[in-house]
Symmetry: C2
Subunit: 221 residues, 2 copies
DNA sequence: GCATGTGAATGGATTCACAGCT
DNA sequence: AGCTGTGAATCCATTCACATGC
């Protein structure tokens, strides 16, 4: 079934949206360089992708290209910004003000272009009242509900040890958060309507280890 | 083509090895609980997976199960540890001693069960000589080659801003590092024999944003 | 002519369903 | 009977190839 503009948006895979993010970044760069127009082939070369895939990805949301010419850089960029829903600022909170939480709070990509970290939450009273280097405050865990309501927070970021992750997720869901980025290495039991995306740092290291082992064993040239 | 034990290891996808890591974690837990045996159905329930997939994943490396019974928890765990190549310690260095580098250096999953962070490297002289809270030292960038040689480092972790990532990758490759975990949001131009795995934190947030937008627009219930 | 947009073909990964072992 | 291991079937993503339009 051919996918037409604006229909069937839920059928779009995460693989596709991930690539849209990558294209967006590239277009932002090209725009800053003053480039007016770009073809799917040109984009395909920059990443190691197939040009047809790029065209298909972009065609999901309408026809933005001009045959014989390519895509208008600025227009396509604006379109992707809108498609990804980052044409307005989304507020997020981080749960866990340990090393990882602190690092994420000050991570440039989390505090620009559509995202804003409102605060970190922690149960450790010795941490509350302090701020990250960039000035993101650490707030008592009990204030979760209030914070979410007052700041229209719709993203929660879990940066606590694995054993507390499920509890934090449930509390975030209760507070009204609709999307969660989970850094704890556990499988979260989902609530209806509260999306989770997990980033498992350890798995990536183990994957490299697997590769190294194969190199050492001579399985790979 | 049916895959048989120990043959064709390079043909195993990252999706599979990622799941192996997840199984391993589960088995470690089950072993600590004293459970002796586990079936593919039981594992399938814990994560939201299909039991046939689990059996297929495990069968890539040999026949570890017993028909009518299931898998021996301890034996399978040891097998996965060996398969993933974490039955010995791999040394890693982190390039970039900013917020992210510091957080990763002290991240529990990076300093246990097969991995050891030797040091962080940074060009900023005001950072060198210091250590993370857990005591991982920050060392001058110029000492890269020496450090890699002396400590048999085979994993490099890139935690520098995007504009320096390619340069860092090339330097790591020159120094003899064989596998790189990249946190910079850029497409790395690969060198032969030096594997990269990229973790793009920003893309994950944008993916959640896309989901939120669709919820708001009523595309999803 | 040139590059998009898209059906058709391919290639992989997942799931089904059952033969085979304990 | 129960559960693994696996060919066959299905599903999904990627790539090809070309009709379409600038």
């Amino acid at each position: 079934m051919g996918r037409t503009a604006n229909s069937d948006r839920e059928g779009i895979s995460e693989l596709t949206t991930g690539r849209l993010s990558v294209y967006l970044r590239c277009l932002t760069f090209l725009e800053s360089q003053g480039q007016k127009t770009v073809s799917s082939h040109e984009l395909a070369e920059k990443f190691h992708l197939n040009s047809a895939q790029i065209r298909k990805d972009l065609a999901c949301f309408g026809e933005f290209g001009t045959r014989g010419v390519g895509y208008d850089v600025s227009r396509l960029r604006r379109q992707l910004v809108e498609t990804l829903g980052i044409d307005r600022v989304r507020n997020a909170i981080i749960v866990g003000a340990g090393n990882l939480g602190m690092a994420l709070a000050d991570y440039a990509g989390f505090n620009s272009n559509g995202f804003h970290i409102v605060a970190m939450l922690d149960t450790d009273a010795s941490k509350t009242g302090k701020t990250s280097r960039q000035g993101i405050p650490v707030v008592a865990w009990e204030r979760l509900g209030e914070l979410v309501r007052r700041n229209r927070v719709d993203i929660g970021i879990i940066a606590v040890p694995g054993e507390h992750a499920q509890h934090v997720y449930d509390a975030l869901a209760d507070a009204g958060v609709l999307a969660v980025l989970n850094f704890a290495p556990v499988q979260i039991r989902l609530r209806h309507g509260v999306k989770v995306k997990s980033v498992d740092l350890r798995i990536n290291l183990e994957s490299l280890s697997f590769h190294l082992k194969n190199v050492e064993d001579g399985v790979i040239a």
